[in-house]
Subunit: 181 residues, 2 copies
């Protein structure tokens, strides 16, 4: 029996592993056991090894947010774009049951390895949200602070929800942030 994968099937599985275990906690053997792929296949898809796997995963996460969060914020009318963002965020983070890969990578020395990808993700999120708020009539200086506060609040809510083992913390925080905008 021989199961054949394509790279596109593999990336989300690996993403979930990095999300659960962090960069250093993720070993090739954990990846092989959770994906069913041998090292040969893994290195066929990712010649750069573990670092390329993580970089690809980061790019995929970034792509998802770009398409379902940042772009709607830029393109749609402000209220609509922001509503899309709330729904997408709640969905993506499974209402607090899932953690942010990019945020997790940011906390330890893994950040240095992927600094530009990590910075870019958050910077574009904040910028897109700020611009939407400004287009919606908010004072530019306030909008910048509000956007920062929303993104930071989401990250903090994920940390706290997981620390307390209580996803409801995330839902509550999201509601509060929603009300404030």
């Amino acid at each position: 029996m021989r199961t054949v994968y394509e790279k596109a099937d593999v990336v989300p599985m690996i993403a979930e592993i990095f999300r659960d275990l962090g960069y250093e906690g993720t070993s090739l053997s954990r990846i092989t056991e959770r994906t069913g792929l041998g090292k040969g296949s893994l290195y066929h898809f990712f010649p750069g090894g573990k670092e390329e796997m993580a970089a690809t995963v980061l790019a995929e996460v970034d792509g998802w947010f770009e398409r379902f969060v940042f772009e709607p914020l830029r393109r749609d009318d402000p209220a609509q774009g922001i509503a899309t963002m709330w729904a997408a965020v709640d969905d993506y983070f499974r209402s607090g049951g899932r953690v942010c890969l990019v945020g997790a990578f940011a906390l330890d020395e893994t950040r240095d390895r992927f600094a530009t990808a990590i910075r870019g993700y958050f910077a574009r999120w904040i910028e897109a949200l700020r611009d939407a708020l400004v287009r919606g009539g908010r004072d530019p200086a306030d909008a910048a602070l509000d956007a920062e506060e929303v993104v930071l609040g989401i990250q903090g809510a994920l940390v706290l929800a997981r620390a307390l083992g209580d996803p409801a913390v995330f839902t509550r925080a999201l509601d509060r942030l929603k009300d404030r905008l």
Copy 2:
């Protein structure tokens, strides 16, 4: 030449390593090179190995917050206790230049290993702050949400400050939270 340490000198050094590298990223060899202690000394102080080192470090961080944040919140008059908290937090996290060990441990599977310590740290913080707010006259239901929001906001600010490489994010967030209470 023979340098002799006491355990009390060693714990803060190890704490800083775990903070920088995370649990999985911290190896005994990194600890020996950054502390100057050989494995023998390390295992003399911590017979339980790496896990006991991390547990000790968590307990020390918890002790610090208990003494300089949670206790003042419970003991002092509310406004004073909260003021002490802001100063201690800003000081401890080096105005955004340092990350929260407990929050970092919470994000990956390391949380499972130290679940009760991690949950306890955040639960006691939120509880102490909530009670101080109630004693200060805030409606109990609002106080609970506000306390949660403050602790979560601090964690999020640390994540975002480090992700963007900009400690000012932390300072700004702290000011905002301060104003809101």
